[in-house]
């Protein structure tokens, strides 16, 4: 269970998140939506300590994974990020073979058994709905794949280390509609296996793929609820206004 309690984040003196409380539902997709600058990506990045390298950032409150505070000093960052994978807006394929792109995390973790690596690569590529397209070209460069394929390659890479959580920061905004659709289908197929949190500016995408939606504004969580309910009958007028593009 991934949960944040009274989470505040400061960029210097500027409070960017004002005490967020949110429980991300296990093995389902939660969409984080809101206008630019509302804090949704900032919140997403607190979930696997992506702000750690920024000396200007200070965090208060709790981010807990399975009951453990991930900001405790003894947290192993490599373990955390293996357990909480992240997929970014721009697909970042490494300049190496498709196979090594997926096996990378496992190899870094010291796994050398070829059969184990083969099995993990195949399983991850299948889960990312990319296997059929690349099974005969595993030795080719990951960079030779299309944008949509590269994004699914990144998902496969994140899945190879068997995470519990998958964070997705606008995972399809750099893709054409067909590729975006493939990635969406992939994410939907991963429900039930992984807890996913996706930042998206695409309202229709949030409506299509997510089970839960959190609407943020100016660093506050305005409304959180089941996606189907929120997109038809939001409780807050601000949510209604945002969904219909009256601001943002």
């Amino acid at each position: 269970m991934l949960e944040v309690k009274n989470l505040k984040l400061f960029y210097g003196d500027n409070e960017a998140l004002h005490g967020i409380n949110l429980e991300f539902k296990d093995k389902q997709i939660t969409a984080l939506i809101g206008p630019s600058g509302c804090g949704k990506s900032t919140l997403l990045r607190t979930l696997n300590r992506m702000h750690d390298d920024n000396q200007n950032v200070r965090i208060e409150g709790l981010v807990s994974l399975d009951g453990k505070d991930i900001y405790q000093k003894d947290t192993d960052l490599l373990d955390l990020r293996k357990n909480v994978g992240m997929v970014f807006q721009q697909p970042i394929a490494f300049p190496m073979s498709v196979y090594n792109n997926v096996a990378y995390g496992l190899q870094v973790a010291g796994i050398k058994d070829k059969a184990a690596l083969d099995a993990a690569v195949e399983k991850s590529l299948k889960q990312a709905a990319l296997w059929d397209e690349v099974k005969d070209m595993l030795d080719k460069s990951g960079l030779s794949l299309s944008g949509g394929q590269q994004q699914r390659l990144c998902i496969a890479r994140a899945l190879a280390v068997e995470p519990e959580i998958l964070l997705l920061d606008e995972p399809t905004s750099a893709l054409d509609p067909i590729s975006a659709n493939k990635v969406e289908e992939t994410l939907v197929s991963l429900k039930g296996k992984y807890t996913m949190v996706a930042v998206t500016h695409n309202m229709q995408q949030a409506a299509r793929i997510s089970d839960w939606t959190a609407f943020m504004m100016n660093g506050d969580l305005v409304e959180y609820g089941k996606t189907k309910e929120m997109f038809i009958s939001p409780k807050e007028q601000r949510t209604d206004d945002y969904l219909n593009g009256r601001f943002g």
């Binding site: 997109f231 038809i232 009958s233 209604d240 219909n244 593009g245």
Partner: protein, 251 residues
């Protein structure tokens, strides 16, 4: 984009109101033709049928265009869907009015068969006024997004149902006493029934207005075949009206 959408929405709402007003006019003229035995007026009502049909088509096209191009969500989605669904009911209401006018035309040949049913004529006049008031109220509730008023309109339909049951009894009794007038009486029964059905369609409109205002799909029009069911529905709807009242005040 926002302004274009607002403009499209405004046009949609305006056209829906116009369609509702035209349907109300058709009800009035159709029943007037029936009560006054005015064949010429009845024919005018029949000829005007295509007007409301075309209005429905235009509304549907416009609503589908808004959904496809603007992909509204939340309250605006509900508002467009409400027009899309409610326009079908308004079209059915106008259809029923045309059927009443057709009854006038048929009745013209049978007038000699039954004495004038003054008591039923009075009920018909009253019911016509009542359903038009319901239709106007429901359109008003639509414009204002007034859920409470929509519930009140649904309640008003129960009086229509009672009047229908009363008129039905009188006509059947007359038909028993005067078997030669059975065919004539059957057209009276049809006309009363059509007005009752118009009331039901107005209740459907009220249901869509509740959906537009709250997102809840409700059933305000359970099958009311006999007086006991009408009374039961009256009780339940009164309860709903009372429950809804504070919510409306909050808004």
């Amino acid at each position: 984009m926002r302004e274009i959408f607002n403009d499209e929405q405004k046009k949609l709402r305006g056209r829906f109101m116009e369609m509702g007003i035209d349907a109300s006019e058709q009800i009035y003229l159709a029943t007037k033709s029936f009560l006054d035995k005015d064949v010429k007026l009845a024919q005018e009502v029949v000829d005007r049928d295509s007007l409301v049909n075309e209005e429905e088509l235009v509304l549907e096209k416009q609503a589908l265009k808004i959904i496809a191009l603007h992909q509204p969500l939340a309250a605006e989605f509900r508002s467009v869907i409400t027009v899309l669904k409610a326009s079908s009911d308004v079209e059915r209401i106008a259809d029923h009015a045309v059927h009443i006018a057709r009854e006038t035309l048929i009745l013209d040949d049978l007038r000699h068969e039954l004495k004038t049913l003054d008591e039923v004529d009075e009920i018909l006049a009253n019911v016509t006024a009542a359903v038009r008031k319901m239709l106007e109220d429901v359109l008003d509730a639509y414009v204002k997004g007034d859920e409470q008023k929509a519930y009140e309109v649904a309640n008003a339909d129960l009086d229509i149902d009672r009047a229908y049951a009363t008129a039905q009894k009188i006509v059947i009794s007359e038909m028993k006493d005067n078997p030669k007038g059975i065919e004539y009486g059957s057209h009276y029964l049809t006309t009363v029934r059509l007005l009752e059905r118009i009331g039901d369609h107005i209740v459907n409109l009220a249901e869509w207005i509740v959906y537009s205002a709250t997102g809840h799909l409700v059933e305000l029009n359970p099958g009311k075949a006999d007086r006991r069911q009408i009374d039961k529905a009256a009780k339940e709807n009164t309860k709903k009206t009372k429950q809804q009242a504070p919510k409306t005040e909050d808004k």
